[in-house]
Amino acid sequence: MKAFANLYAKLDATTSSNAKLGALHEYFLAAAPADAAWAVYFLSGGRPRQIVPTKLLREFTLSVSGVPPWLFEECYQAVGDLAETMTLLLPKSLHTSNEGLAEWIEHHLLPLRGLPSELLTRQLLPLLNQLDQQSQLVCIKLITGSFRVGVSRLLVTRALASVADIDAKRIAQRLVGYTDLSARPTAAHYLTLIAPVSEAGDERMAGQPYPFFLAHALQIPTNEFQLSIGQPDNWQVEWKWDGIRSQLVKRDGEIWVWSRGEELVTDRFPELKVLVDYLPDGSVIDGEIVVWKHKKNNVDIALNIANIELSNVNQVQTFALLQQRIGRKTLTAKILENIPVVMLAYDLLEWQGEDWRSKSQSTRREQLQKIVAQCNQPQLKISALLTGESWQDLDRQRAASRNLGVEGMMLKLKDAQYGVGRTKDVGVWWKWKIDPYTVDAVLIYAQTGHGRRASLYTDYTFAVWDASENEAEPKLVPFAKAYSGLTDAEMREVDAIIRKTIVEKFGPVRSVTPTMVFELGFEGIALSSRHKSGIAVRFPRMLRWRKDKPIAEADTLKTLQALLPQASRTNDIVVNIDGIS
C-alpha cells in the first residue's frame, strides 16, 4: 500500500510527463504482479463500484475527529478535496502495514462494502491506523471511488511497454477492456499484459475490441486546405456524428459493444444485440451510436451509400436525447420505443477473423458497405459519404451541420491505415468542426475550485437576461457552469473581484453582485426541463472576458432559444421523456 501511495504522491506532485513516466516505471519494476495488476486498473481509470458511500465516511470522520459538521464543511472549503479533508482530520498514525495494494483492496477494503455504519466504524478505524497519512489519503480515495491522478492511459501504456520491453501498441491492445474486467484484476492478468509477444494471433481474447483510432482537429482556413492536405479526391468525407463512438465486435456467435472509453456497453443497447444473427463471426465494425427517428411506414431501408438525402440526416436525433437514455439505470420499454438507437458504421477493423487495420481506408470502406448491405438490418446503417468538387464546396455543405445535428465533417485519408489512438504515423483522420456557439453571459455565482485551485474562486455559474412578458423586469437566469478558459492572471483578477462582491453563501456557492460579462463558447444546446432556464448547453467554457461590456448588454434567453436546433424546438419526444423522470 505504501509503495502505491508513494507512487500516487509522486504522480500528483509533478506536471512533467517524463517524471511521471519515471515514477510509473520504477513502481512497476518493483511491484508484486498482484499489486501491479490493481495499480494498472486504477491508474488507467478503472473504478470499482463505490465501496463505502461518501456520506458514511464523512460521518465516520466526524465521530472519530470530534469535529462538528459545520467545521468539517469549513475545512472542506479550505482543502477542496473530500478525501484529503478526511485524512487531515483523522488522527495521524505511523505506517505499520506491510501488505501490498492487492491485499488491501481484496482483504481489507472490498469486504467493507455494504457494512452498516456502526460496524464500518469499528472495522475501518483499526485499518486506517496502520497507514501513514499519504496511504490513508489513497485508501480513502479508493473506497469512495474518487481516486484520480494526472496520468493518461497512454502514459501507463508507455510505462508498461518499457517495463515489458515490447511495443506500446501491443500493450494498448492488451489493455483494452482491462478496466472493465468483471473479474478482479489478478497477478495473472498483469503478467499477460507484460508477457513477451507470442507467435500466432492467440493474443486476442474473445470480445476484445481494438484501440480506437482518434482524429486530430483541423484548424486552418478552408482556402489553405488544398495546399496543406491536397485534393478532396484523396479524402473520404463524412459527417462528424454527435453520438457515442463505439466498436461492434462479433466473434464466436456473440456480440459485444464497446464505447470509446473502452467500456463494455452491450447491455445499454439491446437493439444492437439483435445483429448477432446477421453479422458473420470475426467482424469488428467501428462507428457511432446515435438516436434514430425511424420512419413510421417502417420502410427504413439501408441508407443510400453514394449520397445522403437531408431527410435521412434528419432522422438522427440530438445528443441530448441520447444523454437522457444513457442516464437511465433501467431501460424501460417506453424508452426503447421513444429513444431507439442505431449504429452508423464507418470503418471495418476485422473481417473473417483477420485484422484489417493495415489495409487502406478505401479498401476497408468498400468491404464495410458490402457487409452493411448484406446484414440489411435497420439497426446498422452506413455513415454516408459526402462529395464536393472543391473544399469550398464541401465547406458550403458543412454550413448545414448545425441544422442537421452534426458537429461538422470528418476527413479520412483514403489510403490511411487504421492507427492506434491519436496518432498520425500510419494515416490521418481530421475532424473539421464547426465553430462553437457563443453567447455573452453574466457571472452570478462562484465556487472555489478543487485540488490545485482549492483557494481560488474558479468555478462560475453564468446567466442571461430573461425578459419574457410574465416578468415585470428582466432578470438573470442561470444556464451554464464553466471553469475553464481563463489565464492564470485573469483567474486571479476575477477571484479578487468575486471576493469583493460576495452577497450570500449557499453552502460552497457564493452569489455575487453581477458585474462581469464573459463570452462563453459551447458545443451543443438542447431543451431541458431540469434547468431553470429551460436550456442545457454542452461543454461550456469561457472564450474571453468582455471587460468592455456592461452587464445590461449581455445576451438574453431569447438569443439562446434561437440557437436551438430546428428539430428540438418542436420535438415532442423531449417533452415525453422529461415527463418520465
Partner: protein, 368 residues
C-alpha cells in the same frame, strides 16, 4: 471594562492610552514582533521586548524612539501594569500582558507553542481575557514535531547533493529562515543565502542564537560546490532571473500552508515542507485553554471559525477586525506570477485522463 478595543488605528488600550501593533501612525505603540504587518514605521514611541530590539531597529530605523523591556519585567503606565512574555513566534516576539485594577488581559500577537530553539519558547500567561491570532485556525492544520521535518529536509538536500543538484528552499526571510538554518546539517554541503536573509541571520547571531555558517551565493569560492549546496531564499525570488544561476535545481517551500495539496501544487515547487511559525489547531486550543480566560478575542486568520468553535466550547468569544496577516499571508500564499506553468495547463493535464470517459456525461455540469 475593556482594556483593549479596536480603533481605526489599531488595538487600543483606553486607560493606558497606547496601541498594540497599530497599523496607522500613533503616539505610543507596543510592538509584539518585527513582522511587517505588526511592526510599522512612523510611531512616536515604541515599546518592545529587549531581545527584539536589533530586529526592530534594522527594520524600522536605528533611530526609532524605543523603550525595551526584558520578558517578565513590569512597568506602570497611567495605572496599567504592563509586561511582555515570550510568544515563541520569532526572535523577540512577545505577548502583551495588561493589568488594571485586578483585571488581566493578554494580547498574543503571533505565537507558536512548539519550542524551536531559535527564540524564547511560548509562555502561557494566565488572564481573564485573551486576544489570540487564528492564522491556522482549522483542525486540518496539525504540525509534525520540527525534528521530523528537519530529517525530511536534510534528506531531500542530501539526495539532491548526491545528484549534484542545487536545493533551493523558499522561506520567509525573518524567523522561518533562521529556524530552518538551525536544523540544517552543514556536513551535507555549503549553505547559501539570498541577500534578504543574511542581515537577519546576523541579528540572530548577535542575539546569541547558534546558526551554522552561511554565505552569500556570490561569495561561494568553489563553484563546483554549487550542486551540493542548499540555498535559502524568500518566496519572492521564485521565478526571477536570480534563480537562473542554479541551473537545473530542485526547489521546495517551507510553510504551514503546505499542509494542503492544492496550495502545495499551486506553489509550483518540487517539495512542500509543512513548517510554520504559527500555532496549529491543537496549539491554538491548548494555548487558549491554558490561559484560563473566559473571554477571547480572535484576530487575523480564521476569525469566524474560531469564534464559533470557542463559543461552542463555552467561552465568550468574539472577533476583532484587524489589518494584520496581510503581509505574512501574502508572503506565504502569493502565486508566483513569473511562473511558466499555468494553472489551467495543470488542471487540463490532470483531467485529460478523465475527459475521454466523461465527455458524454459532461452536460450535467450545466445543471444548476
Amino acid at each position: 471594562m475593556d482594556l483593549v478595543v479596536v480603533r481605526p488605528e489599531g488595538l487600543y488600550c483606553p486607560v493606558g492610552d497606547f496601541y498594540i501593533d497599530p497599523w496607522r501612525q500613533v503616539e505610543r505603540a507596543i510592538i509584539t514582533h518585527g513582522h511587517g504587518d505588526h511592526a510599522r514605521k512612523g510611531h512616536t514611541h515604541y515599546l518592545a521586548a529587549a531581545v527584539g530590539e536589533g530586529i526592530l531597529r534594522k527594520r524600522l530605523g536605528a533611530d526609532i524612539n524605543l523603550l525595551s523591556l526584558e520578558y517578565g519585567e513590569k512597568i506602570n503606565h497611567q495605572g496599567v501594569t504592563l509586561s511582555l512574555y515570550p510568544a515563541g513566534h520569532v526572535l523577540g516576539s512577545a505577548q502583551v500582558r495588561l493589568e488594571y485594577k485586578g483585571e488581566i488581559w493578554v494580547a498574543s500577537g503571533d505565537y507558536k507553542v512548539e519550542d524551536d530553539g531559535t527564540c524564547a519558547p511560548f509562555e502561557s500567561v494566565p488572564c481573564h481575557t485573551f486576544i489570540t491570532e487564528s492564522t491556522f485556525g482549522l483542525p486540518i492544520y496539525k504540525w509534525q514535531p520540527q525534528n521530523e521535518i528537519f530529517v525530511d529536509i536534510n534528506q531531500w538536500w542530501q539526495i539532491n547533493a548526491n545528484n549534484n543538484r542545487t536545493s533551493v528552499l523558499f522561506c520567509y526571510a525573518f524567523g522561518k529562515a533562521q529556524r530552518l538554518l538551525s536544523g540544517l546539517n552543514p556536513n551535507i554541503g555549503p549553505i547559501l543565502v539570498h541577500g534578504a536573509v543574511e542581515p537577519l541571520n546576523r541579528v540572530y547571531r548577535e542575539a546569541g542564537v547558534n546558526l551554522p555558517h552561511t554565505q552569500y551565493v556570490s561569495d561561494l569560492q568553489d563553484t563546483s560546490q554549487i550542486g551540493k549546496s542548499i540555498v535559502l531564499a524568500p518566496p519572492t525570488a521564485q521565478g526571477t532571473s536570480w534563480m537562473k544561476r542554479f541551473g537545473d535545481y530542485s526547489d521546495a517551500f517551507a510553510s504551514g500552508w503546505m499542509q494542503v495539496r492544492g496550495t502545495r501544487r499551486r506553489r509550483g515547487v518540487d517539495r512542500g515542507f509543512i513548517m510554520s511559525d504559527h500555532a496549529d489547531w491543537p496549539g491554538l486550543q491548548t494555548a487558549i485553554m491554558a490561559t484560563g480566560a473566559e473571554r477571547v478575542f480572535v484576530t487575523h486568520g480564521q476569525v469566524h471559525t474560531m469564534v464559533r468553535w470557542l463559543n461552542e466550547q463555552g467561552l465568550d468569544a468574539q472577533g476583532f477586525t484587524t489589518e494584520y496577516g496581510d503581509e505574512a499571508a501574502e508572503a506565504e500564499t502569493h502565486l508566483p506570477s513569473a511562473d511558466n506553468i499555468s494553472i489551467e495547463s495543470l488542471v487540463n493535464e490532470n483531467q485529460s485522463a478523465e475527459i475521454e470517459i466523461s465527455e458524454h456525461v459532461n452536460i450535467n455540469k450545466a445543471t444548476i
